[in-house]
Amino acid sequence: MTGPPRRVLAWSAPVLLALIVLPFVVPPYQTVLLTYGLVFAIAALGFNLLLGYTGLLSFGHSAYFGMGAYAVAFTVKYLKLESMEAFLLSGILASGAVAALFGLLCVRYTKIFFGILTMALSQVLWSLAFKFFWVTGGSDGLRVPTPTLLGGFVRAGSDKFEFLSHRYYFYVLAVFVVCTALMWVIVHSPFGKALQAIRDNETRAEFVGVQVWHYRWVAFLISGIFTGLAGALWVPLNGLTTPDILHWTFSGKMVFFTVLGGFQTFFGPIVGAIIFNYLETYAVGHTVYWQMVLGIVLVVLVLALPAGIVGTVRRFAVRPVKAA
């Protein structure tokens, strides 16, 4: 196993430093916004294990994000817990269980059938969350209070916003760094290489002894758990979970920001998720026609910049080096 190359560490270290310093420099609102971005970035990392590395386009990842979020809400409602660690654990368990089951059903298919099957299954969860209002609160959703961090060691003070923009931000940042490192290890491991082999040529991968079905299922499971973890981190920020995050249009957004950043690169989805979050927030803040703004961005992106932001930047940045 090799660590990340020096080149990646060389620019990721200053970026991490900047992320640590940021809450002390920018207004709290900006930090909270960035927290949302980091949460979506974790989901994007998970999502891209399937799209970028395994070659499977899921249109149902809202299911795992939503399961993570609802698991937290149920932990509060039925177990009366308020510890963030309990939240994360319940989010991981719930999304993992659903991903394991759905994955079992979906990984036999590829391309459009895989996309539609994942979408149909996620819609099952959405309709249940929508209709069983005595359990899920229906379209009103479920409220989630501010959690305690690190086993009750760090508590929210009277100022919830201050808590979210500092202590909670650092918590999310830490989870984000761990997830990114973990995903880096996964995609650069023999397992990750096998996934890429499956993506590039399923028949050949099978021929050299890769158990395609099994590998895809494990990738699906990991992908679902990352996304579920993001869902669990998202709930305390939002304070409320509603069926919207289970709806397939939310899955569409996940595809959107992964492609926005560039799904053929490791860091692309992270960049895409954070930029998408800013884009959406400002579009919503400035116009009621924010969906149109996002749609136009997406259409232009697909037509003009299919490699995404990171892919395009890298192409221009790397070319002179190659020529030299």
């Binding site: 298919y109 069983f132 595809v255 009621v288 924010w290 149109m292 259409v299």
Partner: protein, 293 residues
């Protein structure tokens, strides 16, 4: 007995509209191998245009004149026009690219069209209920049934028959099916594939728009109706088989009857049952009941 007839008619009504939407979706997929996520919005567009046209025609009057029923196809034509505009500009550059991009661009289109309708017609629902009320209702036994619903069922049936005749009994249908089966071979034999694509896409959009047009007097046009309809249309085409028109008909009937039964007997899990049906069919026969993989 009377209530049974009402249930059956409701199921057929629902199946008619679903067939119009899903048939268009399936036709487009069958010929072009594109899953159009914005298809539901074309259905909504048809509904809005018809509601708007009827509203303008009514003016201050409250009762519909007979000629106003001629406005029903307006929405379908508008949706067809929109389709004819969208295919060459947005979809054509993407046929050589990976499937992911085709899905994404139609998702972008979904977002744009959703807000375009908000921009043009505002956030409030539009009604065309004068056409619905204008036909009164029929009584059989103890039950009363709106006549307009029967009209929708008939239109759905006629559309299905017309489409079948169009695809299987005309020169254009032959070219359409040939392109669907083997695009390269059709092109080599002198078929103008670009033209077939734009025609197929326009026809598919026309059907979606017609679905919206005929249902709007009964249900009204609201934002978000397209996204909801799209998912159910997916259920229909997945059950029947992507790309198969007969499959869309069978799927629409199944969805219509299951939904009517669901609303009556198991309202909480009615939608879940439909999605599970689609998932189940996909798992047993990925290509659907009548599809070819």
């Amino acid at each position: 007995m009377d209530t049974l007839i009402v249930h059956v008619l409701n199921a057929l009504l629902y199946a008619s509209v679903m067939f119009l939407i899903a048939g268009g979706l399936s036709l487009i997929y069958g010929v072009m191998r594109i899953v159009n996520l914005a298809h539901g919005n074309l259905y909504a567009f048809g509904a809005y245009v018809t509601a708007w046209a009827v509203g303008r025609a009514l003016g201050t009057a409250t009762e519909a004149s007979v000629w106003m029923y001629a406005l029903l196809p307006v929405g379908a034509l508008a949706a067809a026009g929109l389709g004819a505009l969208l295919e060459p500009t947005l979809l054509r550059p993407l046929y050589r690219r990976a499937e992911e991009y085709q899905l994404l661009i139609t998702f972008g289109l979904l977002l744009i069209l959703e807000d375009l309708m908000r921009l043009i017609w505002g956030p409030y629902p539009l009604q065309a209920s004068a056409l619905y009320e204008g036909l009164g209702s029929l009584t059989f036994g103890e039950s009363i049934y709106p006549t307009y619903n029967l009209v929708v069922i008939v239109i759905g049936g006629v559309a299905a028959a017309g489409l079948w005749a169009f695809v299987y009994r005309t020169q254009f249908g032959v070219v359409l099916r040939a392109t669907s089966q083997n695009m390269r071979m059709a092109a080599a034999l002198g078929v103008n594939v670009n033209r077939v694509y734009v025609q197929a896409f326009t026809l598919g959009c026309f059907m979606a728009g017609l679905g919206g047009s005929v249902i709007v007097p009964q249900q009204g046009a609201v934002l978000g109706m397209g996204v909801d309809a799209l998912i159910l249309a997916f259920v229909v085409v997945v059950i029947g088989g992507l790309g198969s028109l007969e499959g869309a008909l069978i799927g629409a009937l199944m969805v219509g009857f299951v939904r009517e039964a669901g609303i009556t007997f198991f309202p909480e899990i009615e939608l879940a049952v439909l999605y599970l049906m689609a998932a189940g069919v996909l798992m047993i026969r990925p290509a659907g009941i009548l599809g070819r993989a």
